[in-house]
């Protein structure tokens, strides 16, 4: 699943560690989500959406649905 996490994080001038701290996950997890290697659970996706004050679908793109 593609996402705009890296861009949104860069816009706010946050490091991966900053974002990991805010989400209460490890930096490795943030990196895996950003690179699309790990898809977050729904609760974590909601947490990300609340943090960036954006809708989930504006952050995450369902690759299968767009095919």
């Amino acid at each position: 699943m593609k996402n705009r996490l890296k861009v949104l994080r860069a816009e706010r001038d946050w490091t991966q560690a900053d974002l990991a701290d805010a989400l209460e996950v490890s930096r490795q997890t943030v990196n895996a989500i950003e690179t699309g290697k790990y898809d977050p659970s729904l609760p974590l996706a909601f947490k990300i959406s609340r943090l960036f004050e954006m809708r989930i679908e504006d952050i995450f793109e369902n690759g299968e649905a767009s095919k």
Binding site: A22, E24, V25, S26, Q28, T29, K37, Y38, S41, L44
Partner: protein, 137 residues
């Protein structure tokens, strides 16, 4: 927003330290129960029973500490641990039964020993953790 994170990190560090403490205690009591009868109390049965019960108690504590440690991990780390545990259990059951068959059918001369199975499970668990961590990197 960082205060919650500090709490989370503190919880992870705390459960990790608890797990390390229980594991160390379990290993020490295992060594005492194994070598104590020979080197410390000359096979007095009641001391051996106490040593084994102490080892069992610390083992149970270690399991609880591990569950608590797992619960404080984030969801991706939990997934990595779960996959490693599934692999270790699978290899342990399949490998252990095959090893037992080799023994009961007399294909191997020496009797099947539990420590070999434990070593196999531990190595499988560690390799799985390493491989799965690399996969998400």
């Amino acid at each position: 927003m960082m205060s919650n994170s500090k709490d989370w990190k503190d919880r992870v560090n705390k459960t990790t330290a608890h797990l390390a403490g229980w594991t160390t205690g379990w290993v020490i009591t295992m060594a005492v129960a194994t070598f104590g009868p020979t080197y410390l109390w000359d096979f007095q049965q009641w001391l051996t029973i106490i040593a084994i019960l102490l080892n069992l108690s610390l083992g149970l504590g270690m399991i609880v500490a591990y569950i608590r440690h797992l619960k404080t991990q984030d969801e991706m780390m939990q997934k990595i641990q779960l996959q490693a545990m599934a692999m270790a259990l699978g290899v342990g059951v399949v490998g252990g039964l095959s090893y037992s068959l080799l023994d009961t059918t007399n294909i191997i001369s020496s009797g099947a020993k539990i420590p070999y199975l434990v070593i196999l499970i531990c190595i499988t668990y560690l390799v799985s953790i390493f491989v799965n961590s690399k996969r998400y990197r």
